[in-house]
Symmetry: C2
Subunit: 400 residues, 2 copies
């Protein structure tokens, strides 16, 4: 297959360390080259020289909205429905409390028992504060758990381990049929997998800025609120940046009109500005091309793994059906942890999730077919040479 047109030149916009084959864009995206100079400018010129005047002259004030508008284009939202701020966990807290308050009297939150843990923890905290129960079940069972006692559903669009995509329209419809509201976590979606929040009728969403969006380590996260809900939303982290007129220094809180009301404290300017600049890479890139490239890479990996790796005992733990496959592929293997470490020694980087998931992210903006072949050949070689069988590889260390 030929490379897609709009993606032909995106790889060269990233810094790729010497000799590294990087399959962890689903954890921390590569550094866009442009952010080096950009961050230097933010620090030296905007902060160092501009000082407080940069809140206006460098438009620091509108960074959450400007980054949000760029993000909106990737997730099927209106520009004014998304703001970038805080962390995914904090944003989930804000939107889930808002959702629960929009459904008073209902007693349950339903969520995916296999969600990324921080989502489960925040769901539990919100439930505790509002005296609700949590029904944490396999994602596929969620529709069968919905009734008139459910206030909200929290579901990750692309599963962080298997990369299975849960159908946004279907889950949203089922949730609405029960009179509840849905919160989507798009951490493994935005920048790699298409979704259409508005068209699917979604209510709320949150997501992470440092994976396929390449915003840098611990980049600010984002949140989405459907325009039809925002004026009724009461979020609990009502800080001064969410006030209608922050610089009136009013003693009483009055929420800003739109999604701005979901902002809390002073925003992390350097991180937000880096994220916003990194998002410019997506300008002019078609979401269909991104999806096409992602499927091309994941399919090639699965086919090659079937051919070369199945005999070594590797099991593909991601959907074979491309329609429901995100942009990473997990293999399971009892020696998966050791194999990942030997790969890392060879500068081939993926990550590992308990208990035995070897995760390989295929970032449509920069990964290539050639890299996929190198990855599969390397795993094959490691198994043939038993290069995973070193005592130091048995001692677990955290992968992030």
């Amino acid at each position: 297959m030929p490379e897609d047109n709009t993606l032909a030149n995106t790889r060269e916009r990233f810094h790729i360390p010497d000799g590294v084959r990087y399959f962890d864009g689903n954890s921390l995206g590569l550094m866009p080259k442009v952010v080096q100079l950009h961050a230097s400018n933010v620090i030296t010129h905007e902060w160092g020289n501009g000082l407080i005047s940069s809140w206006h002259s460098a438009e620091w004030r509108t960074l959450p909205q400007r980054a949000g508008a760029k993000l909106a284009a990737l997730i099927g939202a209106r520009p004014d429905e998304v703001v970038a701020c805080d962390s995914t966990s904090v944003n989930l807290f804000k939107v889930l409390v808002s959702a629960v308050r929009l459904r008073p009297g209902r007693r349950k939150i339903v969520t995916d028992a296999d969600a990324f843990p921080t989502d489960l923890y925040i769901v539990d905290q919100v439930a505790r504060l509002f005296g609700l129960t949590v029904d944490a079940v396999p994602a596929k069972e969620i529709p069968s758990r919905l009734d008139d006692q459910v206030a909200a559903v929290v579901l990750t669009h692309v599963d962080y381990r298997s990369a299975e995509i849960y159908n946004m329209e279907e889950f949203t419809r089922a949730t609405h049929d029960a009179g509840a509201l849905i919160v989507w976590d798009l951490s493994h979606t935005a920048g790699a997998v298409p979704c259409d929040l508005d068209k699917s009728g979604a209510d709320f969403a949150v997501g992470c800025g440092y994976k396929y969006l390449n915003g840098g380590p611990g980049a600010p996260a984002y949140l989405y609120v459907a325009a039809r809900h925002v004026s009724a939303c009461e979020q609990p982290l009502a800080g001064w940046f969410g006030h209608a007129r922050p610089f009136d220094f009013a003693q009483k809180y009055a929420p800003a009109e739109g999604t701005d009301r979901f902002l809390c404290g002073t925003n992390p300017v350097i991180g937000l500005s880096v994220l916003s600049r990194a998002l410019d890479i997506f300008e002019g890139v078609s979401i269909d091309d991104i999806r096409g490239k992602s499927l091309q890479l994941t399919q090639l990996f699965i086919d090659s793994a079937d051919r070369q790796l199945a005999t070594h005992g590797f099991v593909v733990a991601s959907p074979r059906d491309p329609a429901i496959r995100g942009s990473h592929v997990s293999l399971r293997h009892t020696q998966g942890y050791a194999v990942m470490q030997e790969l890392s020694r060879r500068k081939i980087i993926g990550d590992f999730r308990m208990p035995d998931y070897m995760r390989f992210g295929f970032a449509p903006l920069y990964n290539t077919e050639d890299e996929v072949h190198q990855l599969v050949d390397a795993i094959d070689g490691i198994m043939k040479e038993r290069a995973w069988d070193k005592p130091e590889y048995q001692q677990r260390r955290d992968f992030t």
Copy 2:
């Protein structure tokens, strides 16, 4: 008075824009020169080359604790009682909920009606979640409002407008006498005004990283939890970085042993690393010298204002008693807003707070007596020339 010894060389560690006289370190501290190269290294080397391995090799994981330990030395805390993370507003939410949960059955939160608004908003949100009432009164009346129905007191140590210092030992004792817990906001304290959280028996504190700590625009904030409380604390933003073993990816939350349990989502690495590096300027600097320099500058400003500016109608709105004066001085004047703009045109930067407070911050690490003289002469000159009387200065614009 001679310059203090340990502060003799700190000014030159900051970038001072050409011709600027900067009196707004109480809003956004000057850029320490060292952060330029440092941030460039974090971005290019740690992110760009190290990628996910930098969570270990560059110790990204421990940034909240490492920055926290540096901060602890400035506020009279043990190194393990402070972590840097999130924003001041978010951190206030975490510690205030924790405080309220430690005092079940009590129905009130008492706070300073003139606190910085974001604190008031967060107090209101916590009260709403727990069905409590808020008693917002002038700070001095707080002790008279304390009874066995008060769960927590929230008070800013140095008032953001007047710079009045509220006695930490006395307010803490009064709070404890009523069986309640106290949360201090140290945003206008740390880095300029001494305080001793541990010695005064304080329970919780929060504060901002971008004022006298020079952490950069929207720098991460911090929080303090007295060691005696931490194991009983249940904070509501229980994200995966606060888990005892985040990389077990356990479905159920188990809080980390110490102050780490107050972390929430993935930390903003670039901002945290810049803050942590900026804090190194305080190494080897004595808190007494910082206080001495601060009082020298504020006293000189007040004395000069009395001599040169009182006749123009300026009123000193900060304490004349040095024992209760923080590191900024506010003047009040009906034309204050216009005067600040003309000062700004002359590259003399302070800020303005409604309705008529002209705030001048004197940052002990970099402001000089000579600058104070230039400031007072400039205001005097502006009044004599009526240079404030320009139509464009009557239109309000936000100062941050």
